[in-house]
Symmetry: none
Subunit: 366 residues, 2 copies
C-alpha cells in the first residue's frame, strides 16, 4: 500500500470527540479555542452568513399541547419553508435576527446586536412530555438574551399556531409544528479562514449540516452533491467525483462521509461493514490521483456499534501522495495502522504535516 | 543492535526545524521560549560572551558600489581580522558594542546598554544589486536601536573604505570589503545553563558557528577540532575522538556532524550517502563506550535531497547504554526505527529520558 499510516487521537487520548470538535482539530483549529457550542456551526451549515459575536442556536420545529412538548420533531415534518419565512417576516425583536430552516424539522436561529450573550439556557426540554422551558441566564450578562429568546419563542408560537399549513396538517391528522425549541447556544468565534491561516482555498463536500457549517466557518466553499444524505444510502460515488472536480479549482478539499457513523449510532454492524466496503471501492478514483495530490484518509472519531455512540478509541490514518514515505502496512484497519511509521498522532498534527508535504511549511529557525 | 529506537519530531509534527531551534529542543530548551532569532546564537558562536538583554546581529562584510551592494560576501574575502579590529577600535557609539569576525566574510555585532530593542529591520538587502538598506523600527521602541545600527554602519563603512587592506585588495583586482550588512536581530534570552538546569557540565564538539553558539549559550565548553569544516570533507574521526576525550572531563558532550545536511542542501545524494557511511564507521569508538556511557544518536532535522532544504519529516533516534532497554530494530533508518520501542517522540523528550537513564531524574510525587 502506498503512503504512511498510523493511529490518531483526533482531540487527545481518552477524549471522546464530537464530529464538530474533531473536524476543527483535523483542519488545524484547536477546538478548545474555537469551539463555542454547536449553534454557530449548525447556523453556518444551513447557510446563514454568521458573523463574529452572533449568538446562534439550533432549533427544532415541535408540537406543543397544553404547554407540553408532545413531539420534538413535529411529526417529522418535511417542509417548513413557509413556516420559517413567516417567522422571519413577522417576528419583531429589539435586535436583528436570522431564522432559517434546515432539513426536516431542523432550523437555526441567529441573534445579532449589542449586549448579547450565549450564557442562556435552552428552551428545548430535550425530552418529550415535558413543558416548554423558559430560557434564563446561566451566567451574569445572559438576562437580556434569555428574554429575547423567550420573546422570539412567544411570537413564533403565535405565528405558527395560526398558520394555514399547520391547520392543513391537523385536518390531515398530522401533528402541527406549532412551536420552536432552541438549544446549543453559542457565540460565533473569531476564526481565521483557511486562506488567512494557510493560504489555501478550500472546499467542503459533505451532507451533514454541522460539517458544512464548519467548512463554511473557515471560509471553504460548499459543494453540493445530489443524493448525498449523510446516511448509508448516500451517493458516496458522487461525493468523491465532486471532491475531485473541486480540486481543479481549490487547493484543499474536505470530503466527509457519514454513513459508517450513522450505522454505528444505530448499532448496525452489518450495515456499517457494508458501507465501509462501499467507501473503499468509491475511493478508487482518489487513488488514481496520488501522483499529484496529497491524500489523507482518516475518521473523525470511532462510533463502535457496541456502544452506539462516539468513543475515544484512536482512529486509523493514512497519508499518501508525492514525496510521502511508504511504510509496510498494507491494510487500513485500526490494528494494522497502529504499527505504521506515523506512530500515534493527534488531529491537530495533520494540517502541519500536510503543509510540510505540499512545501508550504515555514521553517522555524535557521 | 543495542539500544532502543524510535522516530522523533525535533519540534513537533509538521514543523520544519531550523538547526538552532532543533538543537535547543534536543538540549531540553523549548525553542518557543528561548529562540529569539539567529543573531544571539551566531554571536555566541563566534565567541562573543553575550549577556541577557544584548541585541545581536549576524553581519556580512560586503562590497558596495554607488550605494549598491554588488557582492554580499566581498569577493569571498577570507581574513577580515584587521578590518574587524579597526571597526572595534574606531567606531564610537552611544552604547557599548562588540564586533567580531567569524570565518570568511562573516561576523557578528552585539549592542549592549539601556533602552535597546531587537525590533529593527536589517540593513542587509538580502540580494545583490540592491541598495544598502537603512534600519528602521519594526515595532515601537526600536527607533533608538535602528539609529545606532545605521550609525554603526556609517562609521564602519568610512573606516573600511580607507583601510589599507581594502586598498591592497583593489590593487590586486579583488572586491573591497567596504561595508557591513546586518541581519537576524535578536535579544539574547535569559537561558539557564546546563549546569543550573541539569547539574551537568557540558561540552560541544561542532564546526558550525550556530551550533557552537547554542552550546556556549547554555554554558557548554567549546572543544575545537582541527580539520572540522561542517562539510562532507570534515574531520569526523577527529571530532569523535575529541568528543570521547571531552567525556573524561564533562558529563555530557554534544557532537554535531553537519556534512549530511550540507549534501542535502546541495541536492547531492551520492555525497550524502557516502558521508553517512563515513559517520557510521567513525562512530565505532563510541559503540565501544556503551558499557559506561548513554549514547543518543539522532538528526536535528531531515534535509531531503529532493527538496534541498529542511523538511518536517520525523528523524531517526536511537538511545543505547547501560540499563537501556533493547528492541529488535537492527538498522538505523527512518523506516526501521519507526517500528522501534520508543515510538514517536519529540526533541524536548530526549533530555528528560537521558536524565532518567543516568539516574539524575527527580521523582514527581511520592
Amino acid at each position: 500500500m502506498e503512503g504512511v499510516s498510523g493511529i490518531m487521537d483526533t482531540i487527545a487520548p481518552g477524549v471522546r470527540p464530537g464530529s464538530d470538535t474533531s473536524h476543527l482539530a483535523l483542519l488545524g483549529y484547536d477546538p478548545h479555542e474555537y469551539y463555542t457550542g454547536r449553534g454557530p456551526f449548525e447556523a453556518a451549515g444551513v447557510g446563514i452568513p454568521v458573523q463574529t459575536g452572533d449568538i446562534a442556536f439550533r432549533v427544532n420545529f415541535a408540537t406543543l399541547k397544553d404547554n407540553t412538548v408532545v413531539d420534538r420533531r413535529a411529526g417529522r415534518i418535511r417542509d417548513t419553508t413557509q413556516l420559517a419565512e413567516a417567522i422571519q417576516e413577522q417576528v419583531d425583536l429589539p435586535v436583528e435576527f436570522i431564522f432559517k430552516r434546515s432539513t426536516g424539522h431542523r432550523a437555526a436561529l441567529v441573534l445579532r446586536g449589542e449586549d448579547l450573550s450565549a450564557d442562556v439556557s435552552p428552551t428545548d426540554p430535550k425530552h418529550e412530555d415535558l413543558p416548554l422551558k423558559r430560557s434564563h441566564a446561566t451566567q451574569e450578562g445572559g438576562e437580556r438574551t434569555a428574554g429575547i429568546l423567550n420573546e422570539f419563542t412567544r411570537q413564533a408560537q403565535r405565528i405558527l399556531e395560526d398558520h394555514a399549513l399547520n391547520q392543513e396538517r391537523q385536518k390531515q391528522g398530522e401533528l402541527p409544528a406549532n412551536t420552536v425549541l432552541a438549544r446549543g447556544a453559542g457565540e460565533v468565534p473569531h476564526i481565521p479562514s483557511m486562506e488567512d491561516k494557510y493560504g489555501l482555498k478550500g472546499a467542503v463536500v459533505a451532507a451533514a449540516g454541522l460539517i458544512i457549517g464548519i467548512g463554511r466557518m473557515v471560509g471553504m466553499d460548499y459543494v453540493e452533491t445530489p443524493g448525498a444524505t449523510g446516511g448509508v444510502d448516500s451517493n458516496v460515488e458522487g461525493k468523491v467525483e465532486n471532491a475531485l472536480a473541486a480540486l481543479e479549482t481549490h487547493d484543499l478539499v474536505l470530503l466527509n462521509v457519514k454513513g459508517a457513523d450513522e450505522a454505528g449510532h444505530d448499532g448496525k454492524w452489518p450495515e456499517k461493514k457494508k458501507f465501509l466496503e462501499r467507501v473503499d471501492r468509491a475511493l478508487s478514483p482518489v487513488v488514481d490521483r496520488l501522483d499529484d495530490t496529497i491524500v489523507v484518509v482518516c475518521s473523525d472519531h470511532s462510533t463502535p456499534v457496541s456502544i452506539m455512540d462516539h468513543s475515544a478509541d484512536p482512529v486509523p490514518l493514512v497519508i499518501a501522495g508525492p514525496g510521502v514515505r511508504t511504510d509496510d502496512v498494507d491494510e487500513f484497519s485500526e490494528s494494522m495502522v497502529a504499527g505504521g511509521d506515523l506512530g500515534r498522532l493527534r488531529g491537530m498534527d495533520v494540517m502541519p504535516i500536510v503543509m510540510d508535504l505540499i512545501d508550504r511549511a515555514k521553517k522555524f529557525g535557521a
